[in-house]
């Protein structure tokens, strides 16, 4: 079989694409509002970049990327098309021809000049500094140097999985997946047909089967994920380690054939290194699963909504119980009190049990990142290894759902900005392959999820400079190291000097912070220059119940999440008078902005003579809330707000009090931001 030379075909095609882009640009110059031409130009540049990268025209791909980025912004309406912009891209197309003709020539100077023009045009049109200096897309398809294979140990997994009903109709062949599992080692597969309906009720192209599998394999856990790589997000997979990995020396039934290599896409060869250090840790961290296994793991599958319903009932029970204790407390009836205490203990236990029911392991969440990192490695041209640990750690299911986006962002950030190129790493005396560790562990009432890389670390000088230039801090502000590092989570902050394929388009790290705040979690950043960074997210295990501080403002009662409360102070009449007109109190030599909730809520009542200030914080930021009275600690079952109120930003939910009244729960993150905003405003004015 003979085929034309692909490079020659690419050249012809690139010429056509450039012609198409030019025609589009020229038409666009006549009518700057022509959406169709904008799309055509974008598509042409996009294809040119993609094919260029495929056929080894790296300089072309890197250069074209910037033009594509500019047009992406036009396409999305972020930047209007201007004559200058069109001209800049037009002259860039000529340069693209040169890059195709002489791919290895010295084009840097010309590239830089043209991109400077493009940048100027985008900035003039109102765009941000989205186009950056030409970054050589790391040309080397960094040959993955597999880590020295650890001695193979066998692990036995017990799993049960089902695929979405429409998966067969959408082309997934379940038999193929089962075959792949068999290729991994000793495999016992049993079909569970119990969900198949009667013929007259059957949707014949739907899949109703579930499989129970016991797999003994020398392959790492990731090999199983690779089998399910295309269905991972939609499937149901319960997986338990039955057997602690044992050394091969131990008389193990030798697998008949040589172990098969994973069938799916070439993952970064993290696997062998992981299995050696990670597998035993996982087994250790999971005594529960082993214990469960010991008494024949019996699982009942329950729809998530039913669990939510049950949670609601338990919540109502807790509320009713607290009314009961209140009544029992005021009555002198000792018998009633005894019963009330019993009920209190039982409902507490029931609540704890309920919480455990809602817990699911982070396995599934972590599973997604294998593919993400794989793709990111290709896109950045870096060699990246993902090491996950503690996948059996369990977290409330609603927490897991909300963690996915921030984690994607953090992992992307690490791949994109944290890890250096292979060359830089080698120059710094590091291994060519950058490592990203994704770990989960439970600690007290929190789950700690850590994203760690062994990259270049966060450049503190650049963070400070950037924060100063964007007005986030005053020049030479005195910050602790943690406060400085936390600045990267401020809205509008990004030290990325270039927009790349990965991060950079739109979303900032502030999204991460907002989500973690909403989960009532905290972020901790550790970074060592040249050695890497570590970002830890500490999140309460459950969302449904919080400890709160019950306060009164006017005639209303409100709950402040206790985890955010730093301290409570008296606001003397004196200080109250003095602070009229400004909104700061001095708290041990530092000024803290405060908000008078009475004014914020327009209660129309006179202030209590003994007002209190509750100082709340999210990480490094503090704000004082002036309330009329502090009623006390209150354990609270959170009720969501109705759809009607979901855009009321000041409150994150509501709760029912012991006496049947309703209290709103204050959204701490929002109030702190509000206070800081007020502070910035006043500082600017004064």
């Amino acid at each position: 079989m003979s085929f034309p030379d692909p490079i020659a075909v690419f050249r012809t095609e690139a010429a056509e694409l450039l012609e198409q882009v030019e025609t589009g640009l020229l038409d666009l110059n006549h009518d700057l509002t022509d959406k169709e031409q904008v799309d055509a130009v974008f598509r042409g540049l996009h294809t040119l970049k993609g094919s260029g990268a495929m056929f080894g025209f790296e300089a072309l791909a890197a250069f074209t990327h910037h033009c594509e980025t500019a047009f992406d912004q036009v396409r999305k309406g972020i930047v209007p098309a201007t004559h200058d912009l069109v001209t800049a891209v037009l002259s860039a197309t000529d340069h693209m021809r040169a890059l195709i003709e002489v791919p290895n020539g010295d084009h840097d100077a010309v590239s830089e000049t043209l991109l400077a023009k493009l940048r100027a045009a985008v900035t003039a049109a109102g765009g941000g500094g989205a186009v950056a200096a030409p970054a050589a897309i790391a040309a080397s398809a960094a040959p993955n140097t597999p880590a020295a294979p650890a001695a193979p140990a066998t692990t036995t997994y017990k799993m049960r999985f089902s695929l979405p009903a429409n998966s067969m109709a959408n082309g997934t062949n379940p038999l193929g997946l089962l075959d792949e599992l068999r290729d991994l080692g000793e495999c016992r597969i049993k079909a569970d047909q119990s969900s198949i309906p009667s013929l007259d009720m059957l949707m014949p192209t739907d899949l109703y089967l579930t499989w129970d599998i016991v797999l003994t394999t020398e392959q790492p856990r990731s090999a199983i994920d690779d089998v399910f790589i295309f269905v991972m997000d939609e499937m149901q997979l319960d997986l338990e380690v039955v057997d602690v990995p044992s050394a091969p020396a131990a008389a193990q039934p030798a697998p008949a054939a040589a172990p098969a290599t994973p069938v799916a896409t070439a993952d970064p060869p993290a696997a062998p290194a992981v299995s050696s250090e990670h597998a035993p840790a996982a087994a250790k961290a999971n005594p529960v699963a082993d214990a469960k296994q010991a008494k024949s793991a019996e699982n009942v599958r329950v729809p998530a909504e039913r669990l939510d319903e049950l949670m609601d009932r338990v919540g109502e029970l807790v509320i009713a119980q607290s009314r009961l204790s209140q009544l029992a407390g005021v009555s002198g009836d000792l018998q009633l009190r005894a019963v009330s205490e019993d009920v209190e203990r039982l409902s507490g236990e029931l609540r704890d049990t309920m919480m455990v029911l809602r817990m699911v392991p982070v396995t599934h969440l972590f599973g997604r990142f294998r593919r993400l990192v794989h793709d990111l490695a290709i896109e950045t041209g870096k060699s990246i290894e993902l090491i996950t640990e503690g996948e059996t750690t369990e977290v409330d299911k609603s927490v897991i759902e909300r963690l996915a986006d921030p984690l994607v962002h953090l992992v992307r950030n690490s791949c994109d900005h944290g890890l250096e190129s292979a060359q830089e790493r080698v120059a710094a005396g590091k291994s060519e392959t950058g490592r990203i560790y994704l770990t989960a562990r439970q600690q007290a009432g929190e789950v700690i999820i850590t994203i760690k890389d062994d990259g270049r670390g966060i450049n503190r000088d650049r963070v400070r400079a950037k924060a100063e230039s964007s007005g986030l801090i005053t020049p030479n502000a005195n910050l602790t190291d943690q406060e400085l590092l936390q600045l990267i989570f401020q809205p509008g902050f990004s030290t990325a000097q270039q927009v790349t394929n990965l991060s950079g388009r739109g979303v900032g790290m502030d999204v991460v912070k907002r989500t973690i705040d909403a989960l009532r979690g905290t972020i901790n950043v550790v970074s060592h220059n040249g050695q890497g960074s570590e970002i830890s997210l500490a999140i309460p295990l459950t969302l449904a119940i919080i400890d709160g501080l019950l306060v009164r403002v006017g005639n209303g009662r409100y709950v402040i999440p206790l985890s955010a409360v730093e301290e409570c102070l008296e606001l003397s009449v004196d200080e109250d008078m003095r602070s009229r007109g400004r909104s700061f109190i001095s708290l041990r030599d530092s000024l803290v902005p405060f908000i008078r909730l009475r004014e914020l809520f327009h209660t129309g009542t006179a202030p209590d003579p003994f007002q209190k200030v509750v100082v709340i914080s999210t990480g490094s930021e503090r704000v004082g809330l002036v309330v009329d009275q502090i009623i006390g600690d209150h354990q609270t079952v959170i009720k969501g707000m109705s759809k009607l109120h979901h855009d009321v930003a000041t409150f994150s939910g509501a709760t029912i009090l012991g006496d049947g009244g309703v209290a709103l729960i204050l959204d701490v993150g929002h109030l702190v931001a509000e206070g800081q905003h007020q502070e910035a405003h006043l500082r600017a004015a004064g």
């Binding site: 692909p6 993609g50 062949n173 069938v263 793709d375």
Partner: protein
């Protein structure tokens, strides 16, 4: 029995690379230049698997996949899409449209063949 593959891509060079890779692996390859062409070839043919780009003129890949999934006679035909983005949202969209799997560009011929083999099964 050699499986028959339809590749849909507006880029001639990508079509060529995929054809070379897949023919060398023993598959029969038919090409289409965009979604519209792809859909009409699907309707008149009988393919075991379809490999398609998403970003194409006339009819994009997402639309083609959605239209394909409305054809009862072609129920269950696996569709692999090519994407330059590791854009999760796009991936979700394509999966929701009825795609079976994906491959990130730029790719090497071996990984394409590997994915095709994986999705086709034995």
């Amino acid at each position: 029995m050699t499986a028959s593959i339809l590749t849909v891509d507006d880029s001639a060079s990508i079509r060529l690379t995929t054809r070379v890779a897949l023919s060398n692996a023993g598959y029969t390859v038919t090409e289409a230049v965009d979604g519209q062409d792809g859909l009409s070839k699907i309707k008149s043919g009988n393919f075991d698997i379809i490999v398609t780009d998403l970003n194409m003129p006339n009819m994009d890949g997402l639309t083609m996949i959605r239209e394909l999934r409305k054809l009862p006679a072609h129920t269950g035909v696996p569709v692999i899409f090519l994407t330059t983005e590791s854009d999760n949202e796009l991936k979700q969209q394509a999966k929701a449209a009825g795609a079976t799997g994906w491959l990130t560009k730029p790719f090497d011929p071996e990984s394409l063949v590997k994915i095709v083999k994986k999705v086709l099964g034995r």
